[in-house]
Chain length 570, copies 2
């Protein structure tokens, strides 16, 4: 083809591209939700004691992101912290086609350096209750989080009705800085920060106000205002760093209708167990005596609680929001009533006719099963968590860039199963506590079905095993079952729930037990699956898996620049 | 020239390069001083109160770097901090030919990300007393520093004699973290951390030990052991964050012989004024009663002192080092005796026959004079420091890469002089306190002579003006003079000392006064010149200048990857 023809071809390409761009620009205003954020430290008094938080645009918690299904969410994140990198993870969003927007440092992108801006752009593909948070070091614990709500499409009815909507994000809070906490985790001897000082509802708690003057409006209890007789959809997201929580509203029943962005069979509860990384929508009818207000109460479960109840106010309008409820709320179930906890989790099942995942029912067979033994170990004397004896360390080059551009060998396969599991006594501390540390990865065949069996075990302390809420990026998965003791690969799969398994992005692994999940590896990218307790993740309790890297588009330059991605520099 | 000749030419080049590389490899073992550092937070008790420090290989202060003139120092710095970048500045080293090794974040390199290693490689070109420290955020204040000593060549006699060598690095210390300090600096209202809790000698101080049990060996007083009758070269470096200091040794005189890596006319003092960024060598003869030990004492000058004396022990061997000196040291001069301070500074002059800089005497004429008015200002309500009304902000792309690869317009010229200086009343707060903030730069003609006249002024508080010790990267400069009040461009240059001006890399700007210096712009690169008080620098009190960028070699890739240097990524 000669120069002349070539020129015409180029002209054609230019015209087509220009037309496409024009279309994008035209539809931009209606189809995009645009946010500009500046992230920096700020003094704040979440529980009436002043400390520092990582604030967004001067707010804690950060501003709520809200979009309708089908809209594109665009968040320009500018890092104003003086020396720290930052990323934002959009918890529960699958990031289909945009794995570089998942916001996990050293997995999907380089951290955003001080002074830089990274533009997160992704589709709101599924209605539901989500949240966002920092995913670098322990910046989530430092307060970098907020709510993310995706509304159903205009012509798409939800399978339940309500008159109004309320939303809270709940968490735990320490007075020690995350720098001290992280330094303690990586010290010999290990130093544990201990239980949280306060529980926060929408960023507000109260520490020792009986002894102190707590007039700071930043720690005034959060108010949920309702009108008598009306029904509300209350969205609840737990971004807790450590605590398994139980939420209740004095005198009111709650009907669970959504979990992690998936509809569930309606179930009425007085008290809601919620683990870090989980979200729920509950329907709440204001059907009690309207002449007074009621406490919403948050308590610790699963660990010996040393933290006072977190409180918010359910305010029946037109009562003043400051009117203190006249009685104390009921207690939550005992912290160590694990039978209650397990029952609660097992009772969450897919909504009839709605247990689909992208219009596909749970695959009845799996292509691959991976067994993941969760242990507490020592690595060169440091206390770590390990999966199949490997404690996760993050590489200095993000996995996604490494794989896409074949920069490093980060595809070193992770151990598929724990060797000698049949002889492993999960009721005792590990006989040889030493584990290895490294950047390993599982590779899943695109569109294959994969089962993951999480197996809990005794920690380094005799008689102790801990709760681990495992959260998956880029996917929802079906919860096939929970069991006690060591998983039996012959018998236990027979008890899997294949009838109405709930789709979730977070699942609980109970002490001394196992949890089995199934996922469809249908989202090209690199994805984290990890314990959502931030200290546990910091201590290596996670894995990384990839699928269909060859289908991943070009990464934005701003996702790279660290580690070996510098190879193209002059 | 045809393909064949071209091939021969290339072959020749390859052979020459290979031969050169072989030579370098051969001489490597004898000519390089190699260090490998891992940087991380660690719990430490510098003054018997436990806090976090940024430690190097688990040590605070960091390990001493020591080399002989002509040797190459190689330091591999691995950043193990979880979320923070880091750089190391080699204070007093000129970095001739290696401007990317100067270690100033966003001026000469991108910060080293968590998990990454940067290799600093530079020539020990001039004997003297130096130090190193973090140059990103306030990491220096967080404890990231240590000594750097360059010994004279084997065949190069020092112009003074001594029997042994001692070395200390001195500083101030707060119990509030640098995160809180930095957040306070950028808050409205401004929050000031206040005076330091302790003064540290070689990283050791004692806070309130009369009320507390201070048995931690980390805070045991530093011991300088001597033998009676012998003479020692005591090297002293001040890495103080805020404090101007005065150092003395009970009963002993000190003879100053070196300042900032330059020989000075010997002068005997009882008490040594030393500002942040300065170093001195003093000769100390152990000529007192050898049956006891003596206090070395450190006090604050220049600000109303609220910090107790810092103490170390001069230990006459074989007395036990723990033997407490029987009397208290003399006090330092009164904090506000500025006449004493100015006399002290003026008395430091170049050593006779040694007032050369790279074998060149002070140029008697300048090619360019720049007047730098130092003011405290407001920028959008935030308190800042400004130079000629511009408060320094750092770009997200390092200046050096920006200029070398023409990435951004960071060459926006900085204001040469303060407009309307003749009408400016330096004895009063600024009539219009508002300044601008930005990334500006001065460009100096290579090998030209430049005078900089620092002019102090009243801060935002009536009747207040502060001390600013200004430090220059990549150069030493001659101190031409100090004066009180507003600099008179007609008269004051007549009083310049052109006979024996001392060469320094740090100079004091006294309250309500001016200081004039002269430099030779003979070092291709981009260089910082700034107030060495770390909070003041953080608040914008610095300038950047460049010279001979066209002579700068290729930057290491590891110095880039942030900001616009990502333009080459796929």
């Amino acid at each position: 083809m000669g120069w002349k023809e070539n020129r015409y071809l180029r002209l054609l390409v230019v015209m087509v591209v220009a037309t496409m761009q024009a279309c994008v620009t035209q539809s931009k205003s209606t189809m995009e939700k645009h946010y500009r954020w500046q992230i920096n430290y700020q003094f704040w008094s979440p529980d009436c004691v002043e400390r520092m938080v990582i604030a967004i645009n001067g707010q804690f918690p950060g501003p709520t992101v809200r979009a309708r299904v089908g809209e594109t969410i665009v968040v320009e994140v500018e890092n104003l912290m003086p020396t720290e990198g930052v990323v934002i993870h959009w918890h529960g969003i699958h990031q289909i086609g945009t794995p570089w927007a998942d916001g996990t440092a050293y997995i999907t992108q380089c951290a955003i350096n001080p002074g830089e801006t990274y533009v997160y752009k992704f589709l709101a593909e599924k209605p539901g209750t989500y949240f966002y948070h920092g995913h670098h070091g322990m910046q989530r614990t430092a307060g970098l989080y907020g709510s993310l709500i995706v509304e159903s499409g205009e012509d798409e009815a939800e399978p339940f009705e309500y008159d109004g909507e309320l939303s809270i994000i709940i968490s735990d809070w320490w007075h020690k800085s995350v720098y001290e906490q992280m330094t303690g985790l990586s010290s010999i001897p290990f130093r544990w920060v201990g239980e949280p000082q306060s529980l926060l509802i929408q960023g507000r708690g109260r520490y020792n106000c009986s002894r102190r003057d707590c007039k700071n409006p930043q720690c005034a209890p959060h108010v949920l205002s309702v009108e008598a007789g009306k029904t509300y959809r209350l969205r609840i997201a737990s971004v807790a760093s450590l605590s398994s929580l139980n939420f209740l509203i004095q005198g009111h029943l709650m009907t669970i209708v959504e979990a992690d962005g998936n509809y569930v069979e309606p179930i009425q509860v007085q008290k809601l167990d919620i683990y870090s990384g989980e979200t729920y929508s509950v329907l709440l009818t204001a059907d009690q005596d309207p002449s007074r207000n009621y406490w919403a109460a948050l308590n610790v479960r699963g660990r010996p609680p040393k933290t006072p109840t977190g409180l918010a106010i359910l305010n029946y309008l037109p009562n003043p929001s400051t009117s203190v409820p006249p009685s104390v709320p009921l207690p939550s179930p005992s912290w160590n009533d694990f039978a209650y906890s397990k029952d609660f989790s097992r009772n969450i099942v897919a909504r009839r006719g709605q247990h689909s995942y992208q219009d596909n029912s749970v695959p009845l067979k799996t292509d691959r099963s991976i067994f993941l033994l969760n242990t507490q170990n020592l690595v060169e004397g440091y206390i770590k968590w390990a999966i199949n004896n490997v404690s996760q360390a993050l590489p200095s080059t993000p996995y996604l860039a490494s794989l896409k551009y074949r920069l490093n060998d980060v595809s070193r396969p992770a151990p598929e199963n724990y060797q000698g599991i049949k002889e492993y006594d999960i009721t005792k501390p590990p006989p040889n506590p030493n584990a290895t540390i490294g950047t390993v990865m599982y590779n899943f065949v695109l569109n294959s079905t994969v089962d993951l069996i999480l197996q809990n075990a005794n920690t380094l302390i005799p008689g102790n095993s801990e709760i681990h809420p495992w959260h998956m990026h880029g996917h929802s998965f079906w919860i096939l079952g929970y069991g006690d003791g060591l998983f039996d690969a012959d018998k236990d799969p027979l008890s899997y729930n294949l009838r109405n398994p709930p789709l979730r992005n977070t699942v609980t692994l109970f002490p001394f037990g196992w949890t089995a999940i199934r996922l469809k590896a249908d989202n090209p990218g690199v994805w984290a699956f990890h314990c959502h307790l931030e200290a546990h993740l910091q201590m290596g309790m996670g894995i990384v898996f990839s699928e269909g890297i060859e289908h991943v588009g070009s990464l934005p330059r701003s996702a790279m620049g660290c580690g070996s991605t510098r190879k193209w520099l002059p």
